[in-house]
Structures are given as C-alpha cells and as structure tokens.
Amino acid sequence: MRLESGIPSGPLKDKWDKHRFEMKLINPANKRKYSIIVVGTGLAGGAAAASFAELGYNVKAFTYNDSPRRAHSISAQGGINSAKNYQNDGDSIWRLFYDTIKGGDFRSREANVYRLAQVSTNIIDQCVAQGVPFARDYGGLLANRSFGGAQVARTFYARGQTGQQLLLGAYSALSRMIGAGKVEMHNRKEMMDIVLIDGVARGIVTRDLTNGKIESFEADAICLATGGYGNVFFLSTNAQACNVTAAFRAYKKGALFANPCYTQIHPTCIPVSGDHQSKLTLMSESLRNDGRIWVPMKKGDNRPPNQIPENERDYFLERKYPSFGNLSPRDISSRSAQEVCDEGRGVSVTGYGVYLDFEDAIGRLGKETIEERYGNLFEMYERITGDDPYSTPMQIYPASHYTMGGLWVDYNLMSTIPGLHVLGEANFSDHGANRLGASALMQGLADGYFVIPYTIANYLAQGKLDKAGTDHPEFKKAEQEVKEKINKFLSINGKRTPTSFHRELGQLVWDNVGMGRNEAGLRKMLEKIPAIREEFWDNLKVTGRSEDMNMVIEKAGRVADFLEFAEIMAWDALEREESCGAHFREEHQTEDGEALRDDEKFSHVAAWEYKGVGNKPLRHREELEFENVKLAVRSYK
C-alpha cells in the first residue's frame, strides 16, 4: 500500500490556500442532500458537527457522554496556542510552525503543521465571538502567557479552565444547530463498529447505553473525533470513559494506525496513593514556573522533606539542564523523575514521586503572590492528598496524558478508508513524536472548525453514493457481531472483572511502553499480552443484562479492544529503533543519556495494517520530507 499524503505542491506558505482553491465545492443548495456522521463531540467533533450544520449538511452526532457539553476536552487546564503575536514578542506563524515541528522532534509533516499554525489565529477569533471569556488585561485586550517552555507568550487561557470554556463554546454552537434541527444529537450512544460497503465508509453501529439497543446509522461520510487512547495505561489523566474502541474498530476494518508508540507522559501529576487508584490528576504545568523539583541525595532517605538540609537535596532538573531547569520539556522532565525513583531516591508512599517545592518561591515572592498564581491548584492538591503545599512540598510523578499516535490521515484528514475522516487527538497528524503544551486544543479546533469543513466537501463532491439503507447485509452483519460479542461477555461467567484485566494490562504497558522502552521489555510484553487476552475471554465476569444500562458491559467492550491494541503499540515501539520525542528507546541514547534520533532510517511515519488478532500487523511507511526546516538535535541543556 502506498500512503498518499496528498500534500499540495508549491511553497509551504501557499499550500493551504492553493488547496482550498483547487478542492471541489458543493453548491449551497445541494448540501442538504448530504449527510455526515460525527462520532465524538469533544472539541474536534463538536466544532466539526456545528460547522457542518451551519454549512447546510445534515449531521448526526454521537457521544457516549450524557451531553455534548461533557467530553474529555473539558479537563484541559492550561490554555490554547495561537500565533496572534498580540504581545509583540516575536511570535509568528512561522515560529509556531517551527516550534511545533521541533517540539515533535521532526517527526511530523511540514505542510500539516504549517496549516495548523496558520488557522490558529482564526480559532481565537471564533472562540471570542462565541463568548468564550478568555483572560484579559486591564486595557480589555486578550492576555497571554508562555506555556510549556515556549520562548514567546502565545497561550490564551480562561483561568485554569481553558478546555472547559472552549468546549462550552463549541457546545453552544452545536446546541444552536441541534435546536435548529440541523444536527440530530445522540447522547449516551456508543459507536461499536463501523460499516463499510464496497470498501467505502457508510455508517456505524451503536449501542444505546441507557437500554442496550443496538442500532445502525448511515451517511455519506463519517468523521471520528473520538479522542486518544491514553487509558491503555489504566492509570492516566484522561477521563474514565476515554478508550480506543472507535479508532480500533476502524483499524480492524482497514484504516491504518500511525505511530501508536508515541504517547506523552506528563511530568506533574499527583502520585498513586494505593490499589484503589482509578485515575491520576494532572497538576498544571504552570506550577513548574515557580516550583523547584527535587529528591533526597541519599537512597531511602525518609526524613520529612523540611528536615532534609539543602546540601542533601538533588534538584536534578536544574543540575542536568541548567538552562531550562525545572521548565525542561515534558518527556525529559518525566524521564528524569523516573530515573531518580528507579535509583531508590523517590518519595511518596510507593517510592514513585518527587517533590515540587514552593518554599523558595514563597520566600522570594510572598505567600500572597503564590496564592494568587496557584491558589486553585493548591486547593485541589490539598483536597486530594490532604497535604498543604504552602507548608510542605507537593509530591508529583509522571502519568500518561496524551497520545500523539492515532489513525493515519492524509492532508484532507481522511484515513485509508474512503469516506472515513479522523479529527482531533484520534488522528496522528500534527504533533510528531511529542506534543507541545497548549497545542492539542489548537489542533482539535483547527481540525473541526477550519480544516474538515472544507476538505469534506472535496470528498463528497466526488459523486453522490446510492443509499444503501441500514437493512443492507453489511449493517446487519455488523449489528450481529456486536450482539454476539456482548452475549459472549455475559456468558463467560468467570471470576475476574473487566477492570482487573484493564489494571493488569495497564501495568504491563506502563512498565514496557512507558517512559523508557527496550527490546527485551517489548518482546516480553508481546509474549504476555496474548495470555492475558486468552484469560479475558475465558475467565471474565460480566453481570446484569444486555437490555439495561450496564457499566460492566461497557467496560468489558473497551478493555477487549485495549487488549488487542496494546500489541500494536509494542510492535511500533520495537521496530522504531531510535529515540525521538516521547519515544525513548534505551538502546538509543547519547553518552549522557539524551535521546538519539536516527533520521537516516526513521524519518518516516509508521502506519500499521491489521492482519488478524494476535498476528503481527504490517508496517507501512510514509516518508517525511523536510523542505523548509533543517533537522536539528533537540537540546535543552
């Protein structure tokens, strides 16, 4: 299979303009004759569904949440990037483009990233017009901050609730279109499979989570905006329901899965407190602006932190990366924390935690300033841990946070299945091997508001498909398979809950495809997963009935897919024999432990093709061409 990215020719700056001109259009009067299914109503899906409806298409949108006002996107705290250069500090579309390419460790497409930087300015305009209450300065203009180590202040924010406010903006636009009858909204409905007819994506099969009803829906095109797969680690900062099912179903039907091993681990999360742990809470990265990260010099030093004298503390980030210090990029900070904990110098009940200490900052700036800056976060921390960060250092540890990998898409955001488009975190498109802070919200909204509304027309205009009808044998077959799978869950009657399998798998993935990866670990994981999967299908316990609201069935279905998906993560990590961005192969590092890229062999996207359960998937490559930037070594020393 040849992967055609469809990147337009011509100078980088003109590609998107030129492409917009060259793409086919659909006459306004004809748009209502086309229907589009949007699965997922987070930032990407909500924005897309509202924009399609405004253009005149008929939209059917789906979410497993009880309302499109809720989606994982709502948790984003820090902010959204945009190349507005309102601060006059040297930002530009080019700089945002370059920072994103470099941040991704030169493993993303130039043309996509450039387009992202270009439309980033429209996003802020759009959101402000919707009434999103971004932070402002005293003159009434928009405020910005520098985020995640960026050298310019290009991040827009709404207190610590940026994701919430952006999602509510998209949600209000979507609500308007639902009210106008242009979007048929299906809440609490989970997509269980995708239906292809003659190789083209034509519809989906869903399960109504309130009564178990299995239904089919047909459309002329489908968009998946179903988020990332960070919950494959079991513990992550993602919302509880986040899962890989929608993307994985598409993969099993022939869509290629790109770069699954690129997963981001966020350095500042609250550590695990016990076996009951269900999720890990992110503490905003902004804390690293003033907090100092340290562990005791000595192994097993369990004195309380305030009794450890200054000269017996190791401020390891400041020591190793003098110029970026505590603000070193996420992957580097996370890996360093793991290293010191592996050495036995970690803190917290499990030994896997490091201190984030505000004592100096409070001394320097006063408690009031710190309270002003981080009051909410400190409160949240205290609520969860019972400790007061004003008087004792916080404990933090890295956790799974974001997934750069996703379904492979071309420049038009279409997967290798004709008609199936993929938006937001669910695709692989723009972040390469590592995502910069405040860029996921930007990408989700760029895809949803400003890319897919154009590119979908180009697909639809290729010719109207004949209506197949949801009685078509392909729909019936998919429905039947979904029902059989659920019946199977209910009939095994074993001794283990879906969650216990998820937990076991998550630990395995964390240990082997977490912050550091090596061949032995990855091979061991590939050996172990089939056995867990086998036990799952043999010893699973699912209670209740399929005709009711049933959380256990929901969980079982998601875990079943994670159990297959984890294998492609391991294959991808194994065959990418280099370190880049968040993918750190221990065999490939410099003498002082920094990531060692191999541009000669691995300057490409790896896209995996399904070859049956338990079989090794087939690896395809899309070569990355860099015409505008020079590949450089990422250095934060």
Binding site: R70, S75, Q126, Y138, Q164, N187, R383, K495, M549, M551
Partner: protein, 248 residues
C-alpha cells in the same frame, strides 16, 4: 475505616426503588468517594450481584457528570466540591452514609444513581448561544472587554452543568443554571444583539421543562461545586423583566 452505606437501587425509571445497605470494610482515607464505590462494585460483581450504577467521567471536578446526593446533600457536605473530588478522609470510621441520586422532578432516574438531565440540553438549544457561524468572526482584539466584565462573565461561565442546584432547591428550580448562561452572555458585547431574545427563550423553555420557581432559598448556591453566585439569579430576573417589557 469501616462504613455502612445505604445506597439507592432502582432498576429503571418505572421501578419504585429502595435503599440497600452495604458494609464497606476497608476504606482508605486517600480514596475518593467514587473510588470507594468502585471497590464496592468490584466486590459486588465477584459476588454475581449487579454493581451500583452511577455517572462519572473526568473525576477532576470539571465535567459535571458525577451526581450523587450524599447524606441528603447534592455532592455531599464539603463546600465547593463535586462528588468525584470528595475524599474519604472527610468521613469518620463507623459512619453511616446515605447515597441517593440527584432528586428533582425534571431529572427522572434512569437507573440506581443515574438521572436524566436532558432538560438542560433543551434549555441550551433554545437560546444558550451567540449566533455566529464558523469563520464569520472579526479579529479577537477588535472588541476590548473590560477586565471586570470578563472576570464576571467567567464566574458565570464556570458552571459545570451538573444539576446540583436543581437537586438542592426545595422547588427543583433551574434558575442558577439558566442565570449563569444568560449572565455570561449579557455581560459581553458579543452577547448584546440576542440578549433579550435569549433570556426569554431560555426562561420559557425552563418553565416548559417542569422546573419549579425560585423562592429565594439559596440552597442552589450553597450546593454549587463551582460557587456560582445567586447574584446571577437577580441579574436573570432583571434581564427577563427587561426583555418581557420590551416584547410587549
């Protein structure tokens, strides 16, 4: 800790429902309330009993999905805290805890502790937006907004749509929810063109959905995990009155 839990069980909307008692033996104070229920549920499944169904997603206090009435109070007694952010160290060994769904006429129970909050959706669809289509916006800084108004709008916009206000209100009113959205937009220049139309449409829809009237109990504010202020209700009343006068 050992706790006695009295948990509302209800098969579906038509079932009458009862309180069922469970003992939670080994509760760690570091658990969140929902983690305590997770542990109970894992046990129930292994005993071949149906676990307790409840709504949740982010577990960070921001999505507004979790919705339990704990000891008679939506989201429990901790100030400014959602159920998912409530931790067991706030309870004492040997305590009895009553766990029920959000109770409100407009929010029928779907199962156990899960309720249907779709009336909020329909109120939003009636007018909870600024009519701007994608791509039509002017430059974001073309419209300065005073910091004070922007901050106030953000206070209102902080609502997570959980419905605790409705469940806490003796009348089952949705005024705090509606007033937060109406106020957010009324405070911003972008919201002006549809200001009156919006207030009327949202309030009328709210009435049609069977929410009660506000008689100033202020229980809504007390139970709001985001501390949305009842001052917005006063603002909504003014907005609505102004709009009605204008209409007639």
């Amino acid at each position: 800790m050992k706790l006695t839990l009295h948990i509302w069980r209800q098969k579906d909307a038509n079932d009458k429902g009862i309180l069922e008692t469970h003992i939670a033996d080994d509760v760690s104070e570091d658990m969140s309330f929902l983690e305590m229920l997770d542990v109970l549920n894992e046990d129930l499944i292994l005993q071949d009993k149906e676990p307790v169904t409840f709504d949740h997603d982010c577990r960070e206090g921001i999505c507004g999905t979790c919705s339990l009435t704990i000891n008679g109070r939506p989201h429990g007694h901790e100030k400014a805290t959602t159920t998912c952010q409530l931790h067991m160290r706030k309870f004492t060994d040997g305590e009895e805890i009553f766990i029920e769904p959000f109770r409100a006429k407009a929010f029928p129970v779907i199962k156990d502790l899960v309720v249907d909050r779709s009336p909020f959706e329909r109120i939003m669809q009636a007018g909870g937006f600024i009519s701007i289509h994608t791509g039509a916006a002017q430059d974001a800084n073309a419209l300065p907004i005073s910091k004070i108004n922007a901050e106030l709008a953000m206070d209102a916009a902080a609502c997570i749509g959980c419905g605790a206000c409705v469940a806490a209100c003796p009348n089952g009113a949705a005024m705090l929810f509606v007033s937060a959205k109406v106020s957010q937009f009324a405070l911003l220049p972008q919201g002006q063109p549809e200001r009156q139309k919006r207030a009327l449409a949202m309030v009328n829809k709210m009435d049609a959905e069977g929410f009660g009237a506000c008689t100033n109990h202020y229980e809504c504010e007390a139970s709001c995990p985001k501390e949305v202020s009842v001052r917005f209700i006063a603002k909504l009343n003014r907005e609505f009155l102004g709009a009605s006068l204008f209409e007639h």
